[in-house]
Symmetry: C7
Subunit: 95 residues, 7 copies
């Protein structure tokens, strides 16, 4: 199943704690307000500006991102858990 | 009866749990904050921008969409239940 | 008495439950949050945009509309009950 | 004494219940949320738009208007009670 | 001491009840929500618009104005009480 | 140490009550909501407008200003107390 | 690991109390509402304006800044604590 987010929304696959540790970022389970790490799996066309044009998305499919979890909605696609967020909930791209 | 939504509103026919499962998305009845899946049956002319022009709608009749239920209003047309939402309550188009 | 709404306001004559049923939409009296059906009897010149121009109203006199009741104010003209709403409280035109 | 409202403000002389009845609109004293009827006695130059120009007022001196009372401030000029409101609190002009 | 308000701020000298009565407006001390009358003693350069230009102030030094008191801040200059308000808190100019 | 405020921020050195009295403004310590007097020691480049340009600051280094204290943040530089405020918290320049 | 903040976000490495003292700013641990000092380690591309262009960031990598802590989110990268803030939470650059 293919999922195409609208506007500036992004579908993110949360990274497991173990994978996260490899990347160098440690995010203890108890830290509620800490941002989380995930992989971008789908990106919307971008936010519409008042001019009617769309702002180019700042992330792309495959990017590893740090995001604020509270802004997203959980969705289960083909038995896997994803998060749909707005690009503004994504804090940074990590490499 | 024909229904023509105003502005960026969209009329959606909610998909039953069984149909949803076929599409690959499982949305347990108990998950209140989870987005839901539905079929677009009518689309408004689009949101008016400050320039006076309308933004082109991002969904079209027949699209299967995932939406946040809390933003919509229920309406019963010819004995069937529908939801009128704003396009901003639609998270993604699924295929 | 003639009534001319200002801005994007619309005067609506609420349709009785019986009339509604004929149109195919059933709106039980107990459903508080459900939109209601009515007939447009007067339309304002449209909302003023930041450019100083007015947005063309999306409904016209005689249209049957579905509206969210909570946004309007009740008014009694020549012994009859009407509702003055903003166009943004009108969800759809029905035919 | 002459009073010149600023911006999109309008000075309204509330109409007494008896006068109102003549006009066809009955506004029971107990109806708190109902709009009220009054006569426009002074009109400001209009709301300033972001362009620096002023929007032309939609009402003029002498108009009979229906307004939402909660938005206005009472003022007593030469022993008479008036209301200063913004044009956005005026719902309609009646004839 | 000279005082130059910033933006669309205005320095107003409140008029005493006795003076007010002469002007025709009676503002009982008990009326908390009633607007008050005062004399403009200093006017700022005007509110900056999004274009970077300033909106021309609608009042000038010497004007007698009616204002909503709650929006202002009291200041004592050379032993005298003044109020600094934004122009939007001034309802009308009286003559 | 040099401090360069960002945007429309201004660094102010609060004036002591004694100094204030000389300037003609008396600000009793008990008056919490009263604006306070201070000297501008550093000014940011100005607020960015939606056009991408910056609005020219309305105060300059050395100005004596009256400001609303609640909007600022206290900072101690080289053992001295300062306040960082936004220009919109400055009510007036006094001379 | 490299971290690239989005929009007008900035990654800051908080300065320890001792280092802070050297810089001349004393920030007692008990002062909750006081701004804090840190070093900029990464800067986003800048906030997108309504025109679709980005505002040039006002800080650069290596800058020592004073920031309001409450607006940021803590993140641990390679075992070190950082803060991701928006540029609007940065009050000033210190030298």
């Amino acid at each position: 199943m293919k999922i195409e987010p609208l506007e500036d929304r992004v579908v993110v696959e949360p990274l497991e704690a173990e994978e996260v540790t490899k990347g160098g970022i440690v995010l203890p389970d108890t830290a509620k307000e800490r941002p989380q790490e995930g992989k971008v799996v789908a990106v919307g066309p971008g936010k519409m500006l008042e001019t009617g044009e769309r702002a180019k998305p700042a992330v792309k499919k495959g990017d590893t991102v740090v995001y604020a979890k509270y802004g997203g909605m959980e969705i289960e696609v083909d038995g896997k858990e994803y998060l749909i967020l707005r690009e503004s909930d994504i804090l940074a791209v990590v490499e």
